[in-house]
């Protein structure tokens, strides 16, 4: 507590002068947004490594069902991989925890936590977040929930295994599967804490963006990153509490004998008491978060890529206002489309048709965004930094994955494809690859700002090309597996003659998955090496316009040594006619006869 109190004093006097801080206040219970951002990033990278390894484990089983792999035995032990063969319950736990970690801990906590924290104060010209203390609390709650989620992997009955959506009654009844016991309890507790973390973070982002913009930083001069983080935070604040309610009701059903989600159940040789609940209720609550969650994951990545593509095309982002408009439209629509996850749930078909309509509308703002990216590249002067490569990759995966969404949004077509590998392929490309590409782009681009050093770009190139080949190599074939009718979350397909044909595809997918996973070793080595030994960064390495590049390389508590910078123009004045340089930072005043844009 002393440490917290001390740090609070530091925040209060808004450090114009850089005081000596203790190790604890600087690196552990830091209230500085830059340090918290790094804490989020490192934690998320660790979680991502775990989740990626889990995926490789179950990919081995899917490609070579029932075969023995010593690596499985090595990591999972005799209990979960006796003789190196993956246990069928553990298979489900691996799938579940992979999904949970990737969606929530890496792409929600990791992505927003890292880049909203780093960039919001730096790009709007603020000394720190509105509340440094809440920000610190947000990270530590995230950390605790990460620990709990990881610890659930070591529970004797196994980690939660009902899929990352944990539909009751399967998740509500320990009789239904062993992993619905303590493993599921830990999952729920971890998620409740995670939601608290996410809410504290989001509220802070919103308040900071609305209140702490520096002089001249009108909403219409904000970089698109900030717009994306802003809408993301609003989505989080409006939707995560609903998941909290869903989780809380499930906890009550599990341990207090209520029946929100349970009715007419006969299991384990006896009829259970609960009557009158509805499993469908849970699905409505879950997906009311679950769909906005897709955009909570995606929008920050789109914001990051907008910024990087503009900077490295040396050209303004095309249609700045249209980009903001489409972010707003996507954000709004994301709240009225959740039912498209439930076409086959037994929900009234008429309600289904309403969701078909609203879901397909999202294609319009998405198309606008995609075309605007491409027009930004057109007649640009493109410099391929690793960040730029990942941003271009993001546009490709956003388009390729988004298109198959048109099929899944159509309830009539969803009948055949619902819960097959087609769905898995679709959301992994549009949400998984896109968001992780956005995250990589952000790391390469803002690494100099975070650590004051540069990452090795050649390693970055190799990392990108292997990752995109691996990514598409995994998920293109997966569409075919889905169109063969193969359901997801199956331990093996050998019991069905009709799935003999997909065996080869599954092998191809696994090879590419191993390639993609191996490529991440390059990234990890580059990342950690560069933190300590990378080449020292200059102040504005990418010749960028935004405010974060006007801060000194060495981190200051309070960001700018003197007065806060004043903003005079939008952030995308690249290659403006009549200017000598191909960039004009936001702090440069307009010439007396110059139009803003």
């Amino acid at each position: 507590m002393a440490a917290i109190a001390e740090a609070h004093v530091h925040a209060a006097d808004h450090a114009h002068h850089h005081e000596k801080e203790s190790f604890v206040t600087k690196y552990v219970f830091s209230q500085d947004h830059k340090m918290i951002s790094k804490q989020f990033l490192i934690t998320a990278i660790f979680m991502a490594i775990v989740a990626m390894m889990l995926s490789v484990f179950f990919r081995l089983q899917l490609a070579w069902p029932g075969e023995s792999f010593s690596i499985l035995n090595y990591f999972l032990g005799d209990r979960w991989a006796p003789d190196g063969v993956l246990d069928r319950n553990m298979y489900l736990s691996l799938v579940t925890i992979h999904g949970t970690i990737m969606v929530f801990f890496v792409l929600t906590g990791g992505l927003s936590g890292t880049f909203s924290n780093l960039l919001i104060p730096l790009q709007i010209g603020a000394r720190d977040m509105a509340s440094g203390f809440l920000n610190m609390l947000s990270y530590w709650l995230f950390f605790i929930s990460s620990i709990i989620m990881l610890s659930s992997l070591f529970v004797e009955t196994g980690a939660a295994g009902g899929g990352w959506t944990i539909y009751p009654p399967l998740s509500a009844l320990p009789q239904a599967m062993p992993s619905s016991g303590l493993g599921m309890t830990l999952w729920l507790v971890s998620m409740a804490i995670f939601i608290a973390s996410s809410l504290l973070g989001s509220l802070n982002y919103i308040v900071t963006i609305l209140n702490l913009r520096t002089k001249g930083m009108k909403m219409t001069r904000l970089p698109l990153t900030i717009w994306a983080f802003f809408i993301t935070a609003v989505l989080g604040v409006l939707s995560f509490p609903v998941l909290f309610a869903a989780v809380l009701l499930l906890i009550m059903d599990r341990s207090m004998g209520t029946s929100f989600y349970l009715s007419d159940i006969y299991i384990g040789g006896e009829a259970l008491d609960p009557v009158g609940g509805s499993p469908i209720l849970y699905q409505h609550l879950f997906w009311f978060l679950g769909h906005p969650e897709v955009y909570i994951v995606l929008l920050p990545a789109l914001g990051i890529s907008s910024e990087i593509i503009s900077t490295n095309s040396r050209k303004p982002i095309f249609g700045y206002r249209a980009m903001i408009g489409s972010i707003l439209a996507i954000g709004f629509l994301s709240f009225i489309v959740w039912g498209h996850h439930m076409f086959m749930s037994g929900m009234n078909p008429f309600l289904g048709s309403v969701f078909v309509f609203t879901t397909l509308l999202i294609a319009i703002p998405s198309a606008v965004k995609a075309f605007n990216y491409i027009t930004t590249l057109w007649k640009g002067n493109i410099i391929f930094t690793p960040g730029m490569l990942f941003s271009i990759g993001l546009v490709s995966t956003f388009v390729s994955g988004g298109l198959t969404g048109i099929i899944l949004a159509d309830s009539a077509l969803d009948i055949t494809l619902h819960d097959t590998y087609f769905v898995v392929a679709h959301f992994h490309i549009v949400m998984g690859l896109s968001a992780i590409f956005g995250m990589f782009a952000g790391i390469y681009h803002w690494f100099p700002k975070m650590f004051g050093r540069m990452m090795n770009s050649r390693m970055g190139y190799v990392h990108f090309w292997l990752t995109i080949v691996g990514g598409y190599g995994v998920f293109f074939p997966m569409h075919f597996v889905g169109m063969a009718g193969a359901p997801r979350r199956y331990y093996q397909y050998t019991d069905y003659p009709m799935f003999d044909g997909i065996a080869d595809l599954n092998v191809v997918i696994t090879y590419f998955a191993i390639l993609a996973a191996a490529a991440q070793v390059i990234f990890l080595a580059n990342f950690f090496y560069s933190i300590f030994r990378g080449q020292r960064a200059v102040q504005n390495p990418w010749k960028s316009n935004t405010l974060e590049w006007t801060t000194p390389v060495e981190h200051l508590h309070g960001n700018w040594p003197g007065a806060l910078p004043e903003v005079h123009r939008w952030p995308y004045d690249y290659s403006k006619p009549g200017k000598e340089l191909d960039y004009v930072p936001q702090t440069v005043p307009l010439d007396h006869d110059e139009e803003e844009h």
Binding site: L170, S263, Y320, L361, W378, I383, S396, G473
Partner: protein
């Protein structure tokens, strides 16, 4: 153990190797006084060319899959609405492939075409409302077509089944399916989960089923009460037993309600329960009533383009008309062992991956022959056989 060490060693070596390569490239760039943020014409050229190689690889990879794995995809739809679904899907594919190829090509092509040239300045183009309008309106028009066509198909599929549709229940539990045919009256008997016993796995309500269940409940309550009275038990165990007694009493009162309702539950007597393999007649509309006993399952019949979740506590349904018999389909797919199949498509526990039932589509005549051979619910159990006789003799059964 050696293997474990070996794995760790490989991972460590890989990390070290990459770190060494970075160091090497750093040293070489220091020697040439090149800094990371400096523009490198060679790197830019290589990456921009790779853009083209990649997009070619990506298209080739996809097209190769379409050719090589065409035969693993689901065969032609074996139901009336399935053909419509496939037509709609193909229409969607045309649009999607067009956009996919054009947009991805433009993206990677522009990236290559407009790579950095120090003698050129990028074209300062901040916005253009005409362009924005074009790519708002064109997708909107295409989507209107997709939405209308899609909704018409959906409304058609989910339309109320006809009066004479064959009613079959699909009952899911961990980890198998039971099909219940509604018999000559084409009406399924009533069910309730409290009446489930080993002999009555679906909880079909019959007068004798009620008696059997009441007896079972009474025995259980009595046994628990005996334990509390006669045994020395820890308090927690006593509490547990008391809870159980309360639960069974509540269930008993529910069962008594059925007994006292004055209904005869006769629609259940001619129901037919089958497992492992079910038959349906070709060309006849089949209305599947779908239920689950324990957790959510999903009745997935991919060849018929049919799917619907089975949800505990509620009834769901799906109706389709099979158009191809199993025999004809075997000819079409050139596989003498082909069978239509019912799968579980909602994760339901450890054996979820093997929860299946074969579906045989018969000609009308074959189906009539098959169903006549099946034992009805009442015939299947000796206890109920007496009941059956009684029914046949008296024409009705007295309740109470």
């Amino acid at each position: 153990m050696m293997e474990k060490l070996f794995i760790v060693l490989i991972v460590v070596l890989a990390v070290v190797a990459v770190a060494q390569i970075i160091r090497l490239s750093k040293v070489s760039s220091v020697l040439s006084k090149k800094r990371e943020e400096d523009f490198s014409p060679i790197a830019n050229k290589v990456n921009s060319n790779l853009m083209i190689y990649f997009v070619v690889f990506m298209f080739a990879f996809l097209i190769w899959h379409m050719v090589a794995f065409d035969n693993v995809l689901l065969p032609v739809a074996a139901s009336e609405h399935g053909v419509k679904v496939d037509n709609l899907l193909n229409f969607n594919w045309w649009i999607i492939f067009t956009v996919f190829f054009v947009v991805n090509f433009l993206l990677f092509f522009f990236a290559r075409r407009y790579r950095y040239d120090p003698n050129r300045k990028a074209y300062y183009l901040a916005h253009n409302n005409t362009l924005e309008l074009i790519w708002t309106i064109i997708p909107s028009i295409v989507l209107v077509v997709i939405i209308i066509w899609g909704l018409l198909t959906w409304i058609d599929i989910t339309d109320e089944p006809g009066e004479d549709a064959l009613v079959i229940e699909l009952y899911a539990k961990q980890f198998d399916w039971t099909a219940r045919y509604s018999g000559t009256d084409n009406t399924l008997g009533d069910v309730n989960f409290t009446l489930i016993t080993a002999e009555n796995p679906l909880g079909v309500i019959t007068a004798d089923g009620i008696e059997v269940k009441l007896k079972e409940l009474d025995e259980e309550i009595e046994k628990a009460e005996m334990s509390i009275r006669n045994e020395v038990l820890p308090e927690s165990r006593v509490k547990e037993l008391e809870d159980r007694i309360g639960m069974r009493r509540r269930q008993k009162s529910k069962v008594l309600n059925y007994r006292d309702s004055g209904r005869d539950f006769q629609t259940a007597y001619d129901d037919v329960l089958v497992k492992g393999e079910m038959h349906i007649p070709v060309g006849k509309e089949v209305n599947f009533q779908i239920r689950a006993r324990d957790v959510i399952h999903s009745a997935f019949m991919p060849h018929f383009r049919a799917q619907m979740n089975a949800v505990p506590g509620m009834n769901t349904q799906f109706t389709f008309t099979p158009t191809i018999t199993t025999d004809s389909m075997r000819v079409i797919v050139e596989d003498a062992n082909f069978n239509f199949i019912l799968l579980c498509n909602k994760v339901c526990g450890s054996a979820h991956f093997n929860m299946q039932m074969d579906i045989i589509v018969d000609s009308e005549a074959d189906y009539a022959k098959w169903i006549a051979e099946q034992k009805t619910f009442v015939q299947a159990e000796p206890v109920r056989a007496e009941l059956k006789e009684k029914v046949e003799v008296e024409g009705t059964i007295a309740v109470n």
